[in-house]
């Protein structure tokens, strides 16, 4: 039995405002008896002491003591905030039947804005008081909603009307209940009903910011509650341990890595167990890029193996792609497909086909035997989803290395989708390549029936007519050659733009073959009337190179100065004509030199013209000329800068892989800014083919733009041009991808060389010229063969 005398002593001390000794005595009492009532008395004494401290202006001390008491006696803490006399006063007034409606509303208003704990109000109201019952039911619902999952029906509080002083509490409780059910929309509706002056408004702000996952109000004010009710997994320690794992991976220090992994996994088990599986998946994927002993790694991660779920296989597939381990990437994508279907990430069928197409595309990059298996995978994908996009991916992936398989794919495409023009065009191209011109003509007839206005079909007609004429010139069949010329004249395609100029050039070729040496003045005059003099000479030369090994072009200095100035324009016009018949215009050395001189003089400042000249040089596999054009284009700046950087990347010698990668990345960024789709596609194609798409830091991006603008000289042994490796922190990544993977740097450089060689052969560049250009022997100081 608690001695009443001791209780009285505490109350006496409180009455004489000796709060310090009241607290001391209440503490002693609670230490000895430890009951609910002694705790209540102690908290009451603390409450009075805190109020006294505030009266004396010791706010900070009051706050500190208040927090201490709150933490130590959370069950009774509400008593610290109760203001019994006031609340009692209100309640007494509310019980008065003669109270005016106006006064009642005023008191209700104060309850709305001042009652921060319903228990405090309930505790001071007499048993049976209606407001006490409401306060108790509000507290009970509040306690339930904040402690366990509740349905809306559990927290309806039907007795509390919209006009009740506890209406904001009711809205808050229903919002909390909805928040924990993840029904944020309903929660937001309830929160919207809480007036701004309500005592519970701060909680509405916390809930609202938590649901939107944005910054809460004034810093720190409600952050603690938000972090309590909606914590993000992890800890500062875990973040630092994860950084150590990344660092060890970068340093290639295996024993250090294993220790870092073990420590990070251990901490993750404690502070973020929900992330553990993902963490292991990420670590495993990273070690795909920088291989380590897998058994040791698994031991460090505290497992024997990882379940190949969709999350893990997606990461490992991407990692394998990154190191260009095509076989592994294809295998991992297949595992991902199965896991993704099983885990409900994707639906079987059409969605599955997307992954199959990707896996097959990756597989098609492998060595022959494995790559041919991709044919079957593509077939399976197109069976699941026979869309034009899927068939196109199938044909495209195989066309370069496995033309026969690609032709089969196109045939299957045509069978399944008979109205699509693409497979017909592809087969037509295949027949042309094999010089099966009769079959090609038959296929072209099908194409013309399907889509006569399709530019691909119209170009194919021009291309085929040239090839047929070529054959008839080779077989010396004049009758058929003359008929071909008549076909040219009749073809509507030849009546567009500068193409009519082609007919006199072709007629000249026919005469040259059958009549021997003929006077070129007449056709040249006819062409000059259409295109101007330098273009006439260039067109005759260009058409000649299509049919004969040697063709003559007068040097630029044989033209009068006003015609000489029109050489760039002539080049563009003839280039466009040659492009229309899918022929290459190799610019002979004297003309290339002339153009370089014009570029150096800065006389050519039209970005569009420069861009077309750049395409010409690129198509003609003339990197030095391409480089000079890119320099002139970069000097202009503006929206075409991305395109000229792309040209620069193509002109850079293949052994400058890192520079090329950085320039392509900068070009891609600029092209994206101005939505230059052609350059974006070209950059992506180039990146995919060799070093992958890279992301430059802002600083490196600025450096690349500046230094490339300044580097106007084509690299040679004395002047190699910009080197960005020292500015690029991820250079080590770039290098280690090359060296640590199956596809090492030599292979990558070799692939780039092959690509370059294929282009050179296509353009008819002599092998010795290719060797000099690529390996830089001679460096402009004379040829060495």
């Amino acid at each position: 039995m608690i001695p009443e005398k001791a209780i009285e002593k505490v109350q006496e001390a409180l009455a004489r405002r000796d709060y310090r000794s009241a607290v001391d005595q209440a503490k002693e009492l609670h230490r000895n008896w430890g009951t609910e009532s002694t705790e209540r008395l102690l908290v009451q004494a603390y409450g009075e002491r805190i109020r006294d401290l505030r009266v004396r202006g010791l706010t900070q001390e009051a706050d500190t003591l208040r927090e201490l008491v709150r933490n130590r006696y959370p069950g009774s803490a509400f008593r610290l905030d109760a203001s019994p006399p006031k609340v009692l006063g209100w309640a007494a007034v509310l019980a008065d039947p003669g109270l005016s409606a106006e006064d009642r509303d005023r008191i209700h208003g104060r309850i709305v804005s001042e009652v921060t704990d319903p228990r405090a109000l309930a505790a001071v109201l007499p048993e049976g008081h209606p407001l006490r019952q409401v306060a108790e039911s509000v507290w009970s619902a509040f306690e339930r909603a904040t402690s366990q999952r509740t349905e809306d029906s559990d927290v309806l509080l039907p007795d509390i009307s919209r006009r009740s002083p506890f209406a904001p509490w009711k809205s808050l409780i229903r919002a909390i209940s909805a928040f924990y059910r993840k029904d944020d929309e309903t929660a937001a509706q309830h929160l919207a009903a809480i007036p701004a002056n309500a005592a519970v408004e701060p909680l509405a702000a916390v809930l609202s910011s938590t649901m939107k996952d944005d910054e809460p109000g004034p810093k720190g004010r409600t952050l603690s509650l938000r972090n309590l009710i909606s914590p993000r997994p992890g800890s500062e320690n875990l973040a630092s341990l994860l950084k150590s794992v990344d660092k060890a991976l970068r340093e290639d220090a295996e024993s250090k890595l294993m220790k870092a992994v073990a420590a990070a996994v251990k901490e993750c088990e404690i502070s973020a167990p929900t992330l553990l599986e993902r963490l292991r998946a990420h670590i495993l994927a990273k070690t795909t890029v920088r291989p380590v002993d897998t058994r040791n790694l698994m031991r460090a991660m505290g497992v024997t193996d990882l379940i190949p779920n969709a999350y893990l296989t997606r990461l490992t597939a991407r990692a394998a792609e990154l190191i260009q381990h095509h076989e592994r990437a294809a295998r991992e994508w297949q595992r991902f497909r199965k896991a993704a279907v099983a885990e409900g990430w994707i639906k079987p069928g059409r969605e599955e086909a997307v992954i199959l197409i990707h896996a097959a595309t990756v597989q098609a990059r492998m060595f022959e035997d494995y790559a041919q298996d991709a044919h079957g995978v593509f077939g399976a994908a197109c069976e699941l989803d026979p869309s034009a996009g899927n068939f196109s991916a199938w044909v495209k992936a195989l066309s370069e290395r496995f033309p026969k398989a690609a032709e089969e794919a196109a045939t299957e495409w045509r069978r399944v989708r008979p109205t699509d023009i693409e497979p017909v065009l592809f087969r037509l191209q295949q027949f042309e390549t094999r010089n099966a011109l009769q079959k090609a003509e038959k296929e072209l007839a099908t194409a013309e029936a399907l889509a006569p206005m399709n530019p691909g079909v119209r170009n194919a007609r021009l291309r085929l007519l040239i090839k047929i004429l070529h054959r008839h010139l080779n077989t010396r069949n004049r009758r058929l050659a003359d008929r071909d010329l008549a076909d040219f004249e009749a073809a509507t395609q030849f009546r567009m733009a500068d193409l009519p100029a082609l007919l006199p050039a072709l007629t000249h070729e026919v005469r040259l073959v059958f009549d021997g040496s003929v006077d070129a003045r007449e056709p040249r005059g006819q062409i000059a009337a259409l295109l101007g003099e330098p273009a006439a000479a260039l067109l005759l030369y260009a058409v000649g190179t299509v049919f004969r090994p040697a063709s003559h072009l007068p040097p630029p200095d044989t033209f009068p100065p006003e015609q000489r100035q029109r050489i760039p324009e002539a080049m563009i016009r003839v280039y466009l004509i040659m492009r229309a018949i899918s022929a290459v215009l190799p610019v002979p050395e004297p003309w290339a030199k002339e153009l370089s001189g014009i570029l150096r003089s800065g006389a050519l400042r039209d970005a569009m013209q420069l861009r077309q000249l750049g395409e010409l040089a690129l198509r003609g596999a003339q990197p030095e000329l391409t480089y000079a054009i890119s320099a002139a284009g970069l000097a202009l700046g503006g929206p075409t800068e991305g395109r000229f950087l792309y040209l620069r990347s193509r002109a850079v010698p293949p052994h400058q892989q890192h520079r090329r990668a950085c320039v392509v990345a900068a070009s891609l960024s600029l092209a994206r800014q101005v939505q230059d789709a052609e350059t974006i596609n070209d950059c992506l194609r180039m990146s995919e083919g060799s070093f992958g798409t890279r992301q430059l830091s802002q600083a490196l991006f600025d450096i690349v733009r500046k230094q490339e603008r300044e580097a106007t000289q084509y690299p040679n042994s004395r002047q190699t041009g910009p080197d960005y490796r020292k500015h690029d922190p991820s250079w080590s990544d770039f290098r280690s991808f090359d060296s640590s993977s199956g596809a090492g740097r030599p292979d990558q450089a070799f692939a780039a060389l092959l690509e370059e060689l294929a282009e050179a052969l296509e353009s008819g560049e002599p092998p010795e010229e290719f060797t000099r250009r690529v390996f830089g022997r001679g460096g402009g100081r004379g040829r060495r063969r």
């Binding site: 921060t116 005592a199 004010r221 603690s224 009710i229 997994p233 929900t274 670590i283």
Partner: protein, 99 residues
């Protein structure tokens, strides 16, 4: 760090087309274009990236294995934890003091 379209719409990566559409409509209601244009644009872009099933699968295949590991923590989804009534009551007081 940019949020994935699934994060923007507040759905799981294995959410069905119906769930994605429902989440989109819910978000549009919450962020109407006239009062929250930035958020609305973000929500619309996220939905555009996920509404077509092929595009959604392609997005699903995107992942950067070289992403720094600490990003796992910053992108981890917040959980919702029951903490009982006391911290809420304390927050009312803290909030009122801050006013």
């Amino acid at each position: 760090m940019a949020m994935s379209p699934w994060e923007v719409l507040g759905v799981e990566q294995n959410a069905s087309e119906q769930e994605i559409r429902a989440a989109y409509l819910r978000m549009v209601k919450r962020f109407p274009p006239d009062s929250s244009p930035t958020e609305f644009e973000q929500v619309r872009d996220a939905y555009d990236g996920l509404r077509d099933s092929k595009a959604r699968v392609l997005r699903l295949m995107e992942a950067d294995p070289m992403d720094p590991l600490p990003n796992l923590l910053t992108t981890a989804e917040r959980t919702r934890t029951f903490v009982g009534p006391e911290p809420w009551i304390q927050a009312i007081e803290e909030g009122r003091r801050g006013k």
